[in-house]
Symmetry: C3
């Protein structure tokens, strides 16, 4: 498999994925997952059209070949070949002649940005339409226009991909990214690329947890995944929806619906250390697939990590969300943040002090300076903190936060103490396979 | 029954009640309740003198005919006919001649406001006395004064009135206002008038709760009511002591002793929306009848709504607390606030999402725009919030506060969702009769 | 026994204790406890060398007679007789000739304060060494130096002293001060002196609690005490490590590991009332004997009161921590603070209102003004607060804090109410002997 290590690697993959016309089903989605599978071994699942999924139903599969709008002079004024945002996603096939007035409600523009195309979809109501720039729209003369959309809405299936990395425990960390957006670079080619690179990195390391990375269409795709996995959702101990990771904004972490899940402690701690401008916002029921994962019937401990959030940037859901909006640096930093989050999730354990009555003698174990008189070194202080707080309730991150010492310093101290048999990891059920 | 709708209606009633010489028993109190009964069907309860009420005893009934102080020249210098604050409330009958020195401790003035009469009472120690202005006192010459107080302290009874409006549930909302103060307009003719108007308004509406409005003498009156109702105090789910609602100060809400009862959420939310200058203060054991209702043996979920609180205004418990201190506007706004509180109490329900796994499809129920691509409308966002939070624990007000959306918007969303069978009201035992 | 009442008394005792060469064992420690026993009847416990104490072992007993370093000219350049900090505490005996290079690692100075001697110890690794000023060190010429340390490291015992004052209850208040530092005035002659004076004061008063004051060597001494008392540690209801009470800094209270023990409410309340500049800091596992008392296996409700904390002052653990650093005023104020803490601990009771339904009639018991009309006096308000809150859960200090009234005013009100049989002290098990 090709390596996804440098920022250039990430941008190269982004460049391959960007032009594909993805949707919530169809061959563009499959092609995307096939390319990602070249970097990490994805297992694909096909869910047939018509399958009932909670309150929803998997729609017909959509594929498109071409879409053209011709002006009264026979000149092609809008062409899907130029940009796959030109057609309303899930447009039904249509051929015919229409006056400009008839076409009006089917021609979508972005009034505030006259050069851009908007991104429009109509998954659950049969319809068709074109997206074009305000400038193009204004240049159209009255007369009879030709519409020719060669698409297919047929029984087929919806596809999602999973990359599962077994760990020492069957308890899981779930990473979720939506894979349905056509040519939009930040939302969400960036998420696909960073998730694939993280999967590659995780695969080369020992793991306490089983890691599951899901690439699925938004909403209906996550619902399909939830339905297929409902019997073992209780194994999900931490989760994160990721996406919009390539633009230049600082990170935004959105808390899980629970608001106090371990992931809600871990991610803010990590990202604020990496970039003090990082933001943490409360859960709200609008957003990406956390809408489904955090619905009250599931209420999974799943937060969300993005740079710009939802429609928090001007280019959101428009043709200006292109490869120029994202950068190798931004993608790589986001990958680094996810690696640091993964390491913290993996190592944020709870310990039990095996010598809890008084302080154990660190000096005789070579863990402490032997000459009394001055203040303890930072590493010694970290050991005192870990010993004092390790009653099986406080995690290393809790101790780092209470002590004001870095998580890394606390973790190193815990390792040294565990090696000296002064600490035992608390068996929280995660270690059983 | 006469309507109490406009500010003028309220002021007219206030004008009728103001001159009556009320006390904690007697005919002035009965006459007041009779007039209020002309607007809302009050049920009166008489509690005989000598009845033991917890640590207290209902005192002899007090009635007064006249009270006069005559100077050495035979000129009447203080006359109960001029103002019923002129006599210490519950003065025993007395006729006799007294020197100015002997009279000294029985003549009460307001040293800081030389033109005003103070309000004085002596319910539980037999005594008598006059209240007069500092100016009048200073004009008195030495010599022999004539005292003639024609009052009666006899076995009788204490009276309180209740206006009960049955609702779908037997669970109750309790509104309490003291009815014992003589000619004092804000404290508490204003409370009597607004409570009567609210009773009228409530009687014309469907009700979830049973509403009970109590008009009783302060302290001993509320104790009598508590004693008579002790067996069903557990039915009181929300309560409010009201009074001092006619002056120009913004509202002050005083929390219940519990501090976290639902009423402690509802009233601050409503009044701060209506007037951002509204204040919320913590419970303290001094005040009005919340002293008894929130004593540790009852600890009812009862807060208090006033404008100026207790002695927080200069005219408090003096002859300057007259009809000029209160206004039609202030009374009407207070009535409006109580109506809004009542509506919130009645509609602040808890729901259960009947489609809790993932979001239900709002689009197919006509509740959501069908074309994807942009941010949701405010009403759609409200539906997402209600669905996400309706696990039977969060009330609509909780959801409004967490979402930052108006209670009204949230309530409308909940109604729409309930009509679409997506929500069920949580049965909290309130609906059983 | 001599009285410890005035600041001069305290400084006189400090002057007697300061020159003694204390350590974690030995005759200097015993002499110190003997002198303290002249003011309060201390019971001494000897723990033999080699005794296993949790993860530790009581070391050999150390005693020292003399220690001298002679320069190549035969001149004595460092002499234990001049200052007992000149020798590394627990130095083994040694006689011999050494070059300056060989001596190097055994000569300790305070680089930042060239005139001061540092304080060094080597309890658990056999070693020897001298402490001298940077100035003296720099004046030494190359050549052969004579070392003569006449000390003994022999099987013996470690000594700690306890002063126990039985109270009505066997439940205990524990006061702990370390007694092992040689000529250091603030750390910790000041603690010894103030603790002895407090013991004297407590012995003359009626006591609800049993008070136990422990004078012990740091770390190993507190571990010995813990081991000997492990079976009745559950009797410790409040505790305080004290020390460093003689310098001019304001008080610092360090919370117990629990963070919410009653002592964590009481001490901050008392010291901030006495000096608004007092500081309260969170628990951390570095410090004095709270390190052992608050280790997770014991987790006693023990806070710490000092002026300057640990190494928070420049003279810390150096020869400059001498009698000039402490003052009669500072010692006396610290004693006063501890007396006020003791009084609050003793009287901060929980009561149960015996007339909880409504307010009891205070007037008929002579506790309340009989004429209604104005605001209650401060003492009346305090009675209302105590009655309203006394449900057996709230302590008088809780009520003081909630009401904003002084603890003293609340306590006086509670006494008056208890005398009128309106309150009963809650039996929390403390009253059984």
């Amino acid at each position: 498999m090709s390596d996804l290590v440098t920022g250039t690697d990430l941008m190269t993959l982004a460049g391959r994925l960007y032009p594909i016309c993805r949707s919530i089903s169809g061959n563009g989605l499959r092609e995307t997952l096939r390319i990602l599978g070249g970097h990490a071994p994805l297992v694909l699942t096909e869910v047939p059209s018509g399958t009932q999924v909670y309150d929803w139903e998997v729609p017909l599969e959509w594929n498109i070949e071409s879409a053209r709008l011709t002006d009264p002079d026979g000149k092609v004024v809008v062409d899907f070949t130029d940009h796959n945002l030109h057609v309303v996603n899930y447009s039904e096939p249509v051929t015919g002649a229409y006056s400009l007035d008839e076409l009006g409600p089917r021609l979508h523009t972005d009034a505030r940005n006259p050069e851009w195309l908007p991104y429009k979809t109509s998954y659950y109501r049969r319809s068709w339409g074109f997206c074009l720039s305000q400038q193009t729209l204004q240049s159209l003369r009255k007369g009879t226009f030709g519409v020719d959309i060669k698409s297919r809405l047929e029984p087929g299936s919806l596809t999602f991909g999973e990359f599962v990395l077994p760990g020492a425990s069957r308890r899981e960390v779930l990473l979720f990214t939506h894979a349905c957006h056509p040519s939009l670079a930040n939302d969400n080619v960036s998420g696909l690329v960073v998730a694939a690179a993280l999967a590659q990195w995780l695969s080369s390391r020992p793991r306490k947890y089983t890691w599951r990375l899901v690439f699925a269409p938004g909403t209906i795709g996550s619902l399909c995944w939830l339905r297929n996995n409902e019997s073992h959702l209780h194994m999900v101990e931490h989760g994160l929806v990721i996406g919009l990771l390539g633009d230049s904004a600082p990170w935004t972490y959105k808390r899980s619906r629970r608001g106090c899940a371990p992931i809600d402690e871990i991610v803010p701690y990590v990202i604020s250390a990496m970039n003090p401008q990082s933001r943490v916002i409360d859960f709200e029921p609008y957003g990406y697939d956390e809408r489904q994962l955090c619905s009250p019937g599931f209420n999974l401990p799943v937060g969300r990590l993005t740079r710009s959030a939802n429609d928090g940037y001007r280019e959101y859901h428009s043709s200006a969300d292109d490869l120029k909006l994202i950068s190798a640096d931004s993608l790589l930093q986001s990958l680094d943040a996810l690696k640091a989050i993964a390491e913290t999730v993996e190592t944020n354990r709870r310990y039990i002090n095996l010598s809890p009555k008084g302080e154990p003698r660190l000096g005789k174990r070579g863990l402490y300076g032997s000459m009394g008189g001055s203040s303890p070194a930072r590493s010694e202080l970290a050991m005192l903190w870990v010993l004092n707080q390790s009653d099986g309730e406080q995690s290393l991150l809790d101790i780092a936060r209470r002590s004001g010492l870095d998580f890394e310093v606390i973790r190193t101290a815990a390792n040294a103490l565990a090696n000296s048999k002064l600490l035992d990891e608390r068996d929280d059920g995660s270690s059983s396979v």
